[in-house]
Symmetry: C2
Subunit: 332 residues, 2 copies
């Protein structure tokens, strides 16, 4: 264990929703949950949009939250050993050329699974129950008995098996779906009936009643759900995107929904965000848009995040490899 106390700077931004702000009250509560570990923290500072950033960086060992200005970090923060993103998606700060050599970068993967599982449970049922059409009927004051089959036994293809993909798979198994996972390596996963690699993606898509996109946005995953791949799906299939908007060809999706060539879709992420009022996507039939809220606990996001951070602090103090480390080459 390190004996010298570590200085921590927490950088917040008002551009983000308040559920993502790490306040002294969150920190104090987390310290009460992790007393022994918290003793290793010396000075702690809370900054907003860079207001006290330079002074804090000068002697910070640890930083939570990514400063908007990440230039020359090695010079500005000579003691910086570990910087942590309170988001899981870090596509906004790629490439990682700003990350000093020897500084560990972690993300907040793991903070989203619990809520994502709940969202996914809802999403499968919403799509299976034709709720987009039923709620459009409500808006039009139209009573039309749209019945739906049982969801049991349907098949979901979950693309990506990280924190979010595992949540999607877990939700699916609990409601009786068959789960085919797609990831870089075809190692088994306890929440999937079968796992295949990306090379086999096009072979499993025709089996899907639901496709879930749960990959990080990287150069490789941009446009992954292309028009050609959508055309491999059954017309009765639906697509759910909880990853990032650019993972799917949004225009091609809209066209297929309008043409009845896909049964439905649920998008928690779109391109761009916020979606402008004049975007035609808003009115695509059998589409449900949620405003990027699927995976964030609106009440305890920061509490959950700090618990994960303290778990890593224990590893850090023990000189062990941290969890949720970003590989600068892979970008996730």
């Amino acid at each position: 264990m390190a004996t010298r106390k570590l200085n921590l700077h927490i950088e917040n931004t008002r551009r983000k929703n308040s559920i993502f702000h790490t306040l002294p009250l969150h920190w104090d509560a987390a310290c009460r949950r992790h007393r022994a570990l918290a003793r290793h923290i010396g000075k702690i500072s809370f900054g907003w949009d860079g207001d006290i950033l330079e002074a804090a960086l000068a002697d910070a060992d640890l930083v939570i939250g990514l400063p908007a200005d990440r230039s020359r970090l090695a010079e500005r923060a000579p003691r910086l050993k570990w910087i942590h993103s309170t988001s899981a998606g870090i596509d906004g700060v790629l490439p990682l050329d700003w990350l000093p050599r020897g500084t560990v970068f972690t993300n907040n993967s793991g903070a989203h699974g619990h809520k994502a599982e709940q969202y996914m449970t809802m999403a499968y049922h919403l799509l299976n129950s034709r709720m987009a059409a039923i709620m459009a009927n409500q808006h039009a004051r139209r009573w039309e008995a749209l019945f739906s089959p049982s969801i049991s036994g349907k098949t979901v293809v979950v693309v990506g098996l990280g924190d979010l993909g595992e949540a999607a798979a877990r939700a699916a198994k609990k409601i009786g779906l068959k789960v085919i996972g797609v990831r870089r390596s075809a190692q088994n996963n306890r929440h999937a009936d079968r796992v295949v690699t990306y090379r086999q993606l096009d072979k499993v898509l025709p089996q899907a009643d639901f496709v879930v996109l749960a990959v990080p946005l990287t150069a490789e995953t941009r446009g992954l759900m292309s028009a050609a791949r959508m055309d491999l799906l059954k017309p009765s299939a639906s697509i759910i995107n909880i990853a990032r908007g650019p993972v799917i060809d949004q225009a091609a999706l809209e066209k297929r929904l309008r043409g009845g060539r896909l049964a439905g879709a649920m998008l928690d992420v779109v391109e761009p965000e916020p979606l402008p009022a004049d975007a035609t996507l808003w009115t695509a039939p059998n589409l449900i848009i949620t405003p990027h809220v699927s995976c964030d606990d609106g009440e305890h996001y920061i509490d959950i995040s700090l618990d994960l951070w303290f778990e890593n602090l224990a590893l850090f103090l023990a000189g062990k490899k941290l969890k949720r480390r970003i590989d600068p080459k892979l970008g996730y």
Copy 2:
């Protein structure tokens, strides 16, 4: 076992959605699933809206489906021993003064639990996730990050613990809710953390995050969820009705939703049905209306129903008491 073969008449009505029509194809498939039992059926007839009813009743032992004209049944159907409703709700044929003495009357309770559980899983999440507001925003092309807390640990009060109430309780337990069941007798139920009687209803309502109405409509349950009872709820609570419209004071509910005195509601049943286009209820905020489709499997309703009927046929042939018998006095 009876040796004489039994004559069966199946009465359909075109007024109902086609998913509720028992066709020869369903019957033949069910006979293949229940070969030994099916051998006891002699003559079988399929009638539509009374077209062959009189001739069929003249020598029918068993009837599936309720004829519109139920007058003088004892005379018209002198051999009738058992009549079965393909619905679970039989409030439309109360009082049961038309039922000949000695004729057993069963309903279709048990055919709805599987789908009802799926609907209820969705309903809890929809209400917790503020989806009515999110979908209203979509309609208005408005991006507003409405976050929501985790659903785990919230409390649901399930009023009625029959087929539907049990499904609501089962769904709730699977997603981590605390379940308080309300029924006539306070006997334990494996899907509820606690069961109380109707006398204690007003005491448990203030604990509810969700209230589920799952009672049959009888003289006793009409208006059960009154304005006064709604005012016992927390303003953050939501109400789900999968019973019958008149179980809740619909005008009082609408008023409370418009005034923000309740967080939301989901109604699969309303009064009247179909809800007329000029009903103001359609536009109440944070309300989701589904067109009485919550509990009926749109693909296999009749298959499931016939399986339950054959289960009872085995009891009938063995001279045993049938399941799902309606008590003419209680009306359910």
